[in-house]
Symmetry: C2
């Protein structure tokens, strides 16, 4: 298999809930007006805590510094695994499950922090630019590694990149046990033809920027569903649109424009972290994806500024609800705190 | 004819050019998300100086006070003339020309300031709430006057409203002579089905909020056409959409959604005022509309925070270009300063 180091230098930022008003102008530009910006990698995820915005340096220039914008100090590079057809994979699973053993586990062993961003199209593994040499040396046995430079794929070997392995690279990991939440809402992972993005503009703007405003100028209509989490993710990366939303948000969009995989699967969320996770702890994605990979359960994985989110097949042979027992595959790895008894 | 005092209490505000970014969030809500606001009267006009926003008190609540928002201190009420079919009018002209003699001139004689807002559908004559009694007594001879209250039209007579005529009401007007500009661009006055507003959302957002951003992330493309003025007006009033834009902006919109009068007329602009006009001088609209009415030339009239704008039929028998001679009908009323020789 091939691993590509994509030609985007990314920043990971967070806009506070109250700060969204200040950043509506640049965000709408980045989402809808592609001919007004050179940004090629943009992702916006709303969680109950804040808005996580991951974007390349061209996009980052659009965000004026303010107290309501937090910026992780590193430059992150997105990695992308390309199945070139030669590799035989017994797994039918999709998402982070597919790369759990080949990418996520080796990086965790080398104490490399990763920031995951699954989309409809693919899974981006973001690593810090300064960790690149460790990344390459950790993965070059398994992968042909290429660095994309101005549209060209240039082969990379570990002697090409500075620095060696971290000196503590071989120590065993003592994973921190993080509590998880399993909200009741079900999610879908969707896409649409980027040329039809204008057709859903007002709906998307409504959902992204005004979902906390009262409707009909009155009071906030119903209280948010108990046991449900607010989570909406939009990304526009190299011209491809990906949307992750729950079924309630989905109902607001015209059914004929958004598409999902033919199976139309729904996903349950496992939110990882009782306290904000930060960016320095390694192995979190590995802890979650490993048991899923062992059981061949498909999962998407979306990191945000504060917490991580795995989206797990609801139709998997091991039902998500069993996580709350917890299922043996999670034992010793996570403590399952759920809002309520799952059906 | 009937004159209706509409059931909207309006504020006239101005957002500075640099302040637009701060007000993008509420403005987009007011323009596109009707189910999120109780605002029923909204108008936004971009001029080279600023953005004039006229809106009712429900809409005004959405605008956070800041140094970049100027607010005229009065409450304004919109008047609207309704031809009830009985009145015989020899004029075929539309717009402010039609009401020049019956409304504009009498109010000017009574020293009542008016703020004009022509739209595709009708012409709103905004007067200060405190001037209402003078307005009613000045116009009740010519009109049946109704005040709209909660959907009902209630007849109004001058004894119903407090205060009499201004004591200086009968003095002769010594009109101030204002310079005017006649830019080269041609304008159209358009509308669209409000249900199709989402279809033009990204284009409208682009034109309204990003026209000063460089395209393709590069430098600002061409310098604005010499001798042309930036002027774009959008209004959403009681569910009706009206747009005034020049032919260059028009080209950005899909041709099949916006409609104009069957004649598809274009209009030339006469901008009144070398220095900001303020809100206290009376008779400006009268000075401009009187000679147009005398010659039966159709004209729209849009007041903004700083300047007034008349839009005059290009196909009128007296060509606009003759204004620069100046045409006899303007003599003694305006000094014509034009950017360049008109063709």
């Amino acid at each position: 298999m091939d691993l590509h180091i994509l030609d985007h230098r990314l920043r990971v930022t967070s806009i506070s809930k109250s700060g969204l008003v200040d950043y509506t102008h640049p965000l709408i530009k980045l989402i809808f007006l592609r001919n007004r910006t050179r940004c090629k990698f943009f992702s916006l995820t709303e969680t109950p805590e804040n808005y996580t915005v991951v974007l390349d340096e061209e996009g980052f220039k659009e965000l004026q510094p303010s107290q309501r914008l937090q910026v992780e100090s590193s430059v992150w590079l997105p990695l992308n695994v390309v199945s070139n057809g030669n590799a035989s994979s017994s797994s039918q699973a999709v998402g982070v499950t597919k790369i759990a053993k080949s990418v996520i586990a080796p990086l965790a062993r080398q104490h490399v922090s990763v920031f995951m961003l699954s989309t409809y199209q693919t899974d981006f593994i973001l690593v810090r630019e300064k960790d690149l040499s460790v990344v390459v040396s950790s993965l070059e046995e398994e992968f042909n590694i290429y660095r994309e430079v101005a549209g060209e794929s240039v082969p990379v070997r570990s002697q090409d990149v500075r620095n060696g392995l971290h000196k503590n690279g071989k120590e065993a990991i003592q994973p921190t046990v993080h509590p998880v939440l399993v909200p009741q809402n079900q999610f879908c992972v969707m896409s649409l033809d980027p040329d039809t993005l204008p057709s859903i503009a007002t709906t998307l703007i409504d959902v992204l920027f005004y979902s906390s405003s009262p409707k009909d100028g009155g009071e906030l209509s119903a209280a948010p569903e108990l046991d449900c989490i607010k989570f909406f993710s939009f990304s526009l990366i190299d011209g491809y649109v990906s949307l992750v939303m729950d079924t309630e948000a989905q109902r607001q969009f015209p059914a004929d424009l958004l598409f999902t995989s033919s199976s139309g699967e729904l996903w349950r969320m496992v939110r990882i972290g009782g306290q904000p996770l930060g960016f320095d702890e390694c192995g979190i994605v590995a802890q979650i994806s490993q048991p899923l990979a062992d059981s061949d359960i498909s999962a998407y994985y979306i990191s945000t500024f504060s917490f991580d989110h795995a989206l797990i097949q609801t139709r998997s042979s091991i039902p998500v609800s069993s996580l709350c027992d917890p299922h043996p595959c999670w034992e010793g790895i996570v403590t399952v705190c759920h809002y309520d008894k799952l059906q």
